[in-house]
C-alpha cells in the first residue's frame, strides 16, 4: 500500500506498510539519509524529526500515524527560524565532531527553541537528555543552544 506524507513542505509518496517506522521510510524508501539510525528503541535520539513541530523519535513511529501531519527533517529544518539559528550556532561554536548524532541533536534543539525561545539549563536538560552523543559534544551543545537563543532576540 502507499502512504502520502508531507515532508519539509512537499508531498511524498511511499509504497510501504502502515507499521513501518518513519525512520526507515525516510532513509531507505525516500533516500533522505540525513535522519540517522542509532538504536531502534528511542534511547539515543539520532532519528529525531519534527511532527507538527514536536520532536519525536522516528525509529518507533509507525508511518501510518503521521499521514496528514507536517514532518520536518534535518534536510528541511534550516528553513525554520529556530532551525537556522541552531545550525548557525552549531557551526559558530564548533559543536560537531563525528556528526552522526548531530541531526538528532539539532532537531531536538530546534524544537526546544521554537517552543521555549529563552531556555534555561533545566529546559535544555529536559529537551536534550534523550539525545546521546558518543563524541561527548554536550558542553558545546548547551552553549550553542544558549547562543542560538540569544541570537534570536531582536
Amino acid at each position: 500500500m502507499a502512504v502520502t506524507l508531507t515532508i519539509n513542505g512537499e508531498q511524498r509518496l511511499a509504497d510501504v506498510e502502515d507499521d513501518v517506522p518513519l525512520l526507515w521510510v525516510l532513509r531507505d524508501v525516500l533516500g533522505m539519509t540525513g535522519t540517522k539510525f542509532g538504536c531502534g528503541i528511542a534511547q539515543c535520539g539520532a532519528c529525531t524529526v519534527h511532527v507538527d513541530g514536536e520532536a519525536v523519535r522516528s525509529c518507533v513511529l509507525p508511518v501510518g500515524s503521521v499521514v496528514g501531519s507536517s514532518i520536518t527533517t534535518i534536510e528541511g529544518v534550516g528553513a525554520t527560524p529556530a532551525g537556522a539559528s541552531v545550525q548557525r550556532a552549531w557551526l559558530d561554536l564548533e559543536v560537531v565532531q563525528c556528526g552522526y548524532c548531530q541531526s538528532g541533536q539539532i532537531m531536538s534543539a530546534a524544537a526546544l527553541l521554537a517552543s521555549t525561545p529563552d531556555p534555561d539549563d533545566s529546559d535544555i536538560d529536559a529537551a536534550m537528555a534523550g539525545n546521546i552523543c558518543r563524541c561527548g559534544t554536550y558542553v558545546r551543545i548547551r552553549a550553542a543552544i544558549k547562543q542560538a537563543a540569544a541570537g534570536k532576540q531582536p
Binding site: 526507515w24 531502534g40 534536510e75 565532531q97 539539532i106 563524541c135 559534544t137
Partner: protein
C-alpha cells in the same frame, strides 16, 4: 573551501585515476620509506601531482588527499592545515578527498599499514605532510623562476600564487601546474620556520562540519545505490557458535522480505528496507549450534585472569634493583581490574557491497582502508585489484572500525544477492558482537622512602594482547607495547622499578583496540595507586606527585596549572572530593582534576572537570580542546557505567538502555587549557579519554575514604553495602 568528499568527488578521483594515470602511476622504488614524495610527475592528466597528497590542475583546482580517516577527531582539517601551510595556499581554495586503499602510498608511517589509530595521525604525518607541501611549493616556485628567468630565492608564495616581488610579476599555482609537473621532484626541501606559520596554531573552523549540520554529509550507512536491497544479520548469540537449522517460512511471509541468506556462522535477511529485513530476522526460527562456549561466564573469565595475574610476566622494563627496594621497607600492594567494554559508535556497523562476477565494490566507513580491501577480496574470492573500497566519513570509530569483520560478513552475504545490498547491524548485534576492550588486571607493589617518594615499584599488567592478533609482527618477546604503554614511560622518577606483561587471552571473545587503548588501563591503575601511596605517606596527592616529577618539567607544569585552575585545596562540602591524575600518553602531557559528589546511596555526580594539556605544537587548538572535552566524557562514561558481562556464552547488554551513556544533564562544567609549546605535536584524539576515570576515582577516595579498585565505579562499595 569546497568540501567534495562524497560520491561526486570519489567518482572524479577514480575517473581521474583512470584517465590521467596520476594515481595509478604512483610508484615507490624498492626500499623507499612510505609516503616519500617520489611519485614521478604526471603530464598526461595535466595535473601537478608531486606526491600522493596534493594535486593541482591547470585550472588551479587544488585537491588534498586525506591519508587518515575522519571519525570526528578533526583530522581532515589538521591534515589540510599542515599541507596548506607549507604549500602556502588558503583553505578556502582546496578540496578534500578520502584516500583510496593503497598501503604503499597512505600507510601510517608509525604502523606501516594504512590505519588511523593510536592518536598517531598528526604525530606520524607531521613531517611527511610538511615535506609534501613544501616539495610542491618548491617545484611551483622553480617553475615560476624558470619562466621569469630569475632565482627561486627571489620569489615568494602566498594564497596559491608565486610572486616576484622586485618585478611585481605573479602567477597562480594553476598557471604553473603544467610546467611544475615537468620538473624533477627535489630530494630535499626547506620547511617553513614555525615562527612564520600562518595556519598552524590558529583555531580554524573545521572543514567537515557544515554538511554534518544539514543532513548532507554521507556516512557509510548512507550509501544509496540504484536497485539496492537492505539486509540485517544475526550471528550466533554464543561466541564461536554456528548456525544449526533455519526455518524461514514465517520470515518469507513478512511484507518486503526478499531473501534469507544462511551462512555457516550467521543468518541475514534481505528486504526492501531495513524494517522488512529486521521483521524478517525476528520471524526466523533459528536453531543455533552453540558450540563449546555455551557455559562461559564473566565469573569464569575473571577467575582465569586472576590466576594468570599471579604468574610471572615478560619483563617490559627494569630500572635499578626492584627486589631489593621492595625488601627495604613496608610493601604496599593493590590490584586493579578493568571490565570488557563495547565501542558503541553512534553509527551502527554497516557495509554496502555489490559483488559482480569479476569485481566487488564496498561502501563503508573504515579506519583501515587497505585491510577492508584485502578482507573483501578474500571473502569475495577475487584478486585484490578487482576490489574497490569507497570510504566515507565515520560516525565514530573508537577502534571498532580498525577491524574489517563487518566488511567480510557483508561481502559473504552479498555474494548470495543479485545486485547491491546494504548490510546494517542492529544496535543489539553491534553491541553483542563487538571486539571488546579487554578485561585487565594490574597488580602493583611499592615501597616508600622516608621523604615520601616511591622507592620501589613493581607493576604487572595481565590481559589480552590486541596487538598480537591485529599486527602480529609488533608482538615481540612476549611484550605488547600497547598493553604496557604509559606504564613503561611513567613521568615519575622512580629509582627501582619493573614492568611486566602477562598475556592472558579470554576464551571466545575477540578483543580490540578501544579509544585510549593500553594507557586507559595503565594510567588508571598507576594514578589510583599513587593516591593510595600519597595517603600512606600522609601527603597531599598533588604534592606527592610533584615530588617525583623533577625530570618531567612539562608534566610538572600542567600539574601546577591544573591545581591552580581547578581550585585545588579550596574547601568543599561534605561528601564532595577532588581527584587528580597525570598522563604521559601519546607524547602529550595532561593533568586532570575531577570534582565529584557522592551520595549516601553510592550515586556519584560530576561537578566539575579541569584538564591542562601540553601537546606540543597545537595544529588546531580548538580541535584539541574539543577532543579533550569529548574524550573526558567518553572516559567518564565508561568509568561510571561501562561494563560488558557474559553469561551462558552471550553478552548480556544489548542497547543504550542497559549499556549506559552519560547524557547532557549529567555532564558538568569542563575547562580545558592548552599550554603554548614549541615541541613536536603529540597525539590528542584519544588522550582526553584516559585521565578522567582515575581522577574521578580519586575524587571518590577523597570524598569517602573508599579506595575503589575496579571499574565501573562500584556504588555498593561506596555506600558501604559491600566491602
Amino acid at each position: 573551501m569546497k568540501l567534495q568528499v562524497d560520491g561526486i568527488s570519489r567518482r572524479s578521483l577514480l575517473t581521474g585515476a583512470v584517465a590521467g594515470g596520476f594515481l595509478l602511476g604512483f610508484r615507490l622504488p624498492a626500499g623507499a620509506l612510505t609516503n616519500e614524495p617520489v611519485q614521478p610527475p604526471d603530464l598526461t592528466g595535466g595535473s601537478f601531482a608531486p606526491n600522493a597528497f596534493i594535486r593541482i590542475t591547470r585550472t588551479g583546482r587544488t585537491t588534498l588527499v586525506m591519508p587518515q580517516v575522519e571519525m570526528g577527531q578533526g583530522i581532515y582539517t589538521s591534515i589540510a592545515m599542515i599541507l596548506a601551510e607549507e604549500l602556502d595556499i588558503g583553505l578556502d581554495h582546496v578540496s578534500l578527498e578520502h584516500a583510496p586503499a593503497n598501503e604503499k602510498l597512505y600507510a601510517n608511517p608509525a604502523f606501516g599499514v594504512q590505519a588511523t589509530g593510536n592518536s598517531n595521525s598528526v604525530r606520524a604525518f607531521w613531517k611527511p605532510l610538511r615535506e609534501a607541501g613544501a616539495t610542491a611549493r618548491a617545484m611551483l616556485v622553480q617553475a615560476a623562476a624558470d619562466a621569469w628567468q630569475v632565482e627561486p630565492d627571489a620569489c615568494s608564495t602566498a594564497e596559491g600564487r608565486v610572486e616576484h616581488g622586485i618585478s611585481g610579476r605573479s602567477l597562480s599555482y594553476g598557471e604553473l601546474a603544467l610546467a611544475a609537473a615537468s620538473l624533477a621532484v627535489p630530494e630535499k626541501v626547506a620547511l617553513k620556520d614555525p615562527e612564520k606559520f600562518a595556519l598552524i596554531g590558529k583555531a580554524l573552523k573545521r572543514l567537515d562540519t557544515r554538511g554534518k549540520t544539514n543532513g548532507k554529509v554521507v556516512y557509510g550507512i548512507d550509501a544509496m545505490l540504484d536497485g539496492m536491497k537492505f539486509a540485517t544479520l544475526a550471528h550466533c548469540p554464543v561466541f564461536g557458535g554456528k548456525v544449526g537449522k533455519v526455518d524461514d517460512s514465517a520470515a518469507k511471509a513478512v511484507p518486503g522480505v526478499r531473501q534469507v541468506v544462511v551462512l555457516d556462522d550467521l543468518v541475514a535477511v534481505v528486504g526492501d528496507h531495513m524494517w522488512a529485513a529486521k521483521q524478517g530476522l525476528d520471524a526466523l526460527d533459528i536453531r543455533w549450534d552453540e558450540g563449546e562456549h555455551a557455559e562461559l561466564s564473566s565469573a569464569n573469565i575473571w577467575a582465569s585472569l586472576r590466576a594468570a595475574s599471579e604468574t610471572e610476566g615478560a619483563v617490559a622494563k627494569t630500572v635499578g634493583d626492584v627486589q631489593a627496594a621492595l625488601a627495604s621497607g613496608e610493601t604496599i600492594e593493590a590490584a586493579y581490574e578493568m571490565p570488557f567494554l563495547a565501542h558503541a559508535t553512534m553509527e551502527p556497523l554497516n557495509c554496502t557491497v555489490h559483488v559482480r562476477p569479476d569485481s566487488c565494490d564496498v561502501w563503508t566507513g573504515t579506519q583501515v582502508m587497505a585491510r577492508a580491501q584485502s578482507e573483501a577480496a578474500k571473502a569475495a574470492g577475487l584478486p585484490i585489484e578487482n576490489v574497490t573500497v569507497h570510504n566515507h566519513y565515520l560516525g565514530g570509530g573508537f577502534g571498532r572500525r580498525l577491524e574489517a569483520d563487518m566488511v567480510s560478513s557483508a561481502v559473504r552475504i552479498a555474494r548470495q544477492v543479485n545486485g547491491p545490498v546494504k548490510v546494517v547491524w542492529t544496535r543489539e548485534e553491534d553491541m553483542q558482537h563487538d571486539v571488546y576492550r579487554p578485561v585487565y588486571r594490574d597488580t602493583v607493589a611499592a615501597t616508600l622512602s622516608a621523604d615520601g617518594k616511591v622507592a620501589g615499584w613493581k607493576y604487572r599488567v595481565s590481559g589480552s594482547s590486541v596487538l598480537a592478533r591485529w599486527l602480529p609482527p609488533a608482538f615481540q618477546n612476549g611484550i605488547d607495547f600497547d598493553a604496557v604503554d604509559s606504564a613503561v614511560d611513567m613521568p615519575y622518577d622512580i629509582p627501582n622499578m619493573q614492568v611486566e606483561f602477562v598475556r592472558a587471552e579470554p576464551p571466545a571473545l575477540t578483543t580490540g583496540f578501544w579509544r585510549g587503548v593500553g594507557p586507559n588501563n595503565n594510567v588508571f591503575a598507576i594514578e589510583c595507586f599513587m593516591d593510595e601511596l600519597a595517603r600512606k605517606a600522609g601527603m597531599d596527592p598533588i604534592a606527592f606527585r610533584r615530588g617525583m616529577l623533577k625530570k618531567s618539567p612539562r608534566m610538572m607544569r600542567v600539574l601546577d596549572l591544573v591545581a591552580e585552575r581547578s581550585g585545588w585545596g579550596q574547601p568543599l562540602p561534605p561528601r564532595v572530593g577532588r581527584g587528580v591524575s597525570v598522563q604521559p600518553t601519546f607524547d602529550t602531557s595532561i593533568a586532570t582534576v575531577v570534582e565529584a559528589g557522592v551520595a549516601q546511596n553510592g550515586e556519584v555526580s560530576l561537578r566539575r572537570v579541569t584538564s591542562v594539556v601540553d601537546t606540543g605544537i597545537a595544529v588546531n587548538p580548538d580541535t584539541i580542546v574539543a577532543q579533550i572535552e569529548g574524550g573526558l566524557i567518553f572516559g567518564l562514561t565508561a568509568a561510571l557505567f561501562g561494563e560488558i558481562t557474559v553469561a551462558k556464552g552471550r553478552v548480556q547488554q544489548s542497547n543504550f538502555n542497559d549499556y549506559r551513556m552519560l547524557r547532557i544533564n549529567e555532564v558538568p562544567q569542563i575547562d580545558v587549557h592548552v599550554v603554548r609549546s614549541g615541541e613536536a605535536p603529540g597525539g590528542i584524539g584519544e588522550a582526553g579519554v584516559i585521565g578522567g576515570p582515575p581522577a574521578l576515582r580519586n575524587a571518590i577516595y577523597a570524598a569517602t575514604g573508599v579506595a575503589l579498585r575496579r571499574l565501573p565505579i562500584e556504588r555498593d562499595l561506596i555506600a558501604g553495602k559491600r566491602t
